[in-house]
Amino acid sequence: MTTTTPAVLPVRAQEEDQPVRRRRRGLSPGRALPASRLIGPALLLALWAAASAAGQLDPGAIPAPWTVLRTAGRLWSAGTLPTDILTSLERAAYGFTIGLAAGVVLALAAGLSRVGEALIDGTVNLNRAIPTLGLIPLFILWLGIGEAFKIAIIAIVVYVPIYLNTHSALSGIDSRFVELAEVQGLSRLRFVRQIVIPGALPGFFVGLRLGVTGSWLGLVVLEQINATSGLGYMMFQAQNYGQSDVILVGLLVYGIFGLVSDSAVRLIERRVLSWRRTLSS
C-alpha cells in the first residue's frame, strides 16, 4: 500500500534536537576542507615513506624521503642548491614578466583597436601554431646559448595563453554593456577602464594561470636539454653520476615552485574577482 508523505516536514523539523532546516540535497560541492590541496600530496608522501621503510623500493632508483631531505640539506649548506635555485628562479621570473607584459599589451592592442587586431591577432595565432619548444635551435643560433634564449622561450610560452584568453575576453564583451555605456554617456577611455577591462579580468586570470604553469614547463625543458647552470643542470649532472636523490631534490624544488606560484595566482584572483560568486567560494 502506498501512502503519500504527510506534509508536516517543516513542523517535524522543529521538534527537539531536529535541525531547524529542512534537509535538501546540496548541489554545490560544500565547504572546502582546510588545506585541502595538500591532502593528496601528503598522502602520496606517506605512501612513499611507508614503502621505503618497508624496504619495498630500490634505494638506488627511488631513495627514501629522508634521504632526499638529507641530500637537500647537504646541497643547501654546500651553497650549490641556493645558487641553482636562484638561477632558475631568475630565468623564470624574467621570462614570465616579459611574457606577461607582452601578452597583456598585445591583447589590449588587438582587443581595443581594429588596426591592432589586423596586425596582431593573425600573427600571434601563427606563432601559436608553431610548437614553441621547436624554436629552441633557432633561438640558440640567434641569441647564443646564454640566458637570453632561455628567457625568450619562456616568455613565448607565457605570452601565448595570456594573449589568447585576454584577447578573447576583451573582444567578447557583452553587447548589452556596450549599449549601457552609450546610454550613460561614457567616454571611450572610461568605457575601456570601467567596463571592458574589468569584464575581461576573468579571462585574463585563466590565461595567467596557464602562463604560470607554462613558465615552469618551459624552464624544466630548457634546463634539462640545454643546462649549463640552474636546477636542471644540477639534475642533469646527477643523472650522469646516478644520484637519484639529487634528481628528486630538483623535482621537489620544481614542485614547490609550481604549487606556490599557482596558489599565489589563485589568491590574487580571489581577491580581484571577489564580486564573483561561484561554486568554489
Partner: protein, 238 residues
C-alpha cells in the same frame, strides 16, 4: 492633471516619418509622433511589433539600423532596460554613479538610492540583490542623471506580480517628483493604464491607437476593452 499643462506646448520628442527596417523588412513604417514634455506615455504592441526598435531609435542606440525620417529628442535621456544591466564588478553605488561627473556625484547617488528604497545597500554587489532591488538600482541609475526623457523597455517584465505593483507605485511617484517625459514600453495593458496618461498601440509599423487616459478609475474597463481590441485580442465572455 494641471501641473504639466504649460509645458505641453513644447514637445520633448518629435518623430516625423520615422522608418526603420532590418534586412529589407520594414519594422517602423513612417511614424509621426509628438511626446509632450513631462507626459507619461506607454507604448503597447505585440511581441515583435517594433516597440524596442522605436525606443532604441529615440535613445540613439540604433547606429547600424537602416532607416529614414526626422527625430528630435532631448539631450538628457536615460534608459531602463528589461534586465537591470548592473555591472557585476561594481558595487551598487558605483553602478548608480556610472558615467556621472562632478564633486557631489556620490551624494546624488546616495540620495537616488535612498529614493528607491535601497538605503544601506550602497556597498552590496549586484549579485546580492533580488530582481526587484536590482531594477530599483537601475531606476536610481537613470534618475540620478536628472533626465528630461526616461525611456523604459519592459522594465518590470521580469518581476513577479507583487514586486511589479510596488514598482508601479515607485515609478509613478518618481515621475511626479522629477517630471521627466516618460516613454514606457510594455506588453501589459493593465500596466499601461495604471501608469500612463496616454497609451499608444504600435501596429504594422505605425501608431494604430493613441488613447488619452483620465486618471479616473471609472473608465478603466472601457480603456482596457479598446486597447485589447486595438491589439486584436478578444476577451472570452464571463
Amino acid at each position: 492633471m494641471a501641473p504639466h499643462t504649460e509645458q505641453l506646448t513644447r514637445p520633448a520628442v518629435q518623430l516625423r516619418g520615422l522608418t526603420r527596417s532590418f534586412e529589407g523588412r520594414t519594422v517602423l513604417d513612417g511614424i509621426d509622433l509628438d511626446l509632450p514634455a513631462g507626459q507619461f506615455t506607454a507604448l503597447l504592441g505585440h511581441s515583435g511589433s517594433g516597440k524596442s526598435t522605436l525606443l532604441r531609435a529615440i535613445a540613439g542606440l540604433d547606429h547600424k539600423v537602416a532607416g529614414s525620417g526626422r527625430l528630435t529628442a532631448p539631450e538628457k535621456v536615460s534608459v531602463v532596460f528589461q534586465d537591470s544591466r548592473l555591472l557585476p564588478w561594481r558595487r551598487v553605488l558605483d553602478n548608480v554613479l556610472l558615467g556621472l561627473n562632478g564633486a557631489d556625484a556620490e551624494r546624488k547617488g546616495r540620495a537616488a538610492l535612498a529614493e528607491v528604497g535601497l538605503e544601506g545597500r550602497e556597498r552590496a554587489w549586484p549579485s546580492e540583490l533580488s530582481g526587484g532591488e536590482a531594477q530599483r538600482a537601475a531606476l536610481a541609475r537613470s534618475l540620478v542623471r536628472e533626465p528630461e526623457l526616461l525611456l523604459a523597455d519592459e522594465p518590470f517584465g521580469a518581476l513577479d506580480a507583487l514586486t511589479r505593483i510596488r514598482m508601479h507605485a515607485l515609478l509613478r511617484e518618481l515621475w511626479t517628483r522629477h517630471q521627466p517625459s516618460v516613454l514606457l514600453v510594455t506588453h501589459d495593458v493593465d500596466e499601461a493604464i495604471v501608469l500612463a496618461d496616454r497609451v499608444l498601440v504600435l501596429d504594422s509599423g505605425r501608431v494604430g491607437l493613441d488613447l488619452a487616459i483620465e486618471r479616473d478609475a471609472r473608465a478603466r474597463g472601457e480603456y482596457r476593452g479598446r486597447l485589447l481590441a486595438a491589439l486584436g485580442v478578444t476577451e472570452g465572455v464571463g
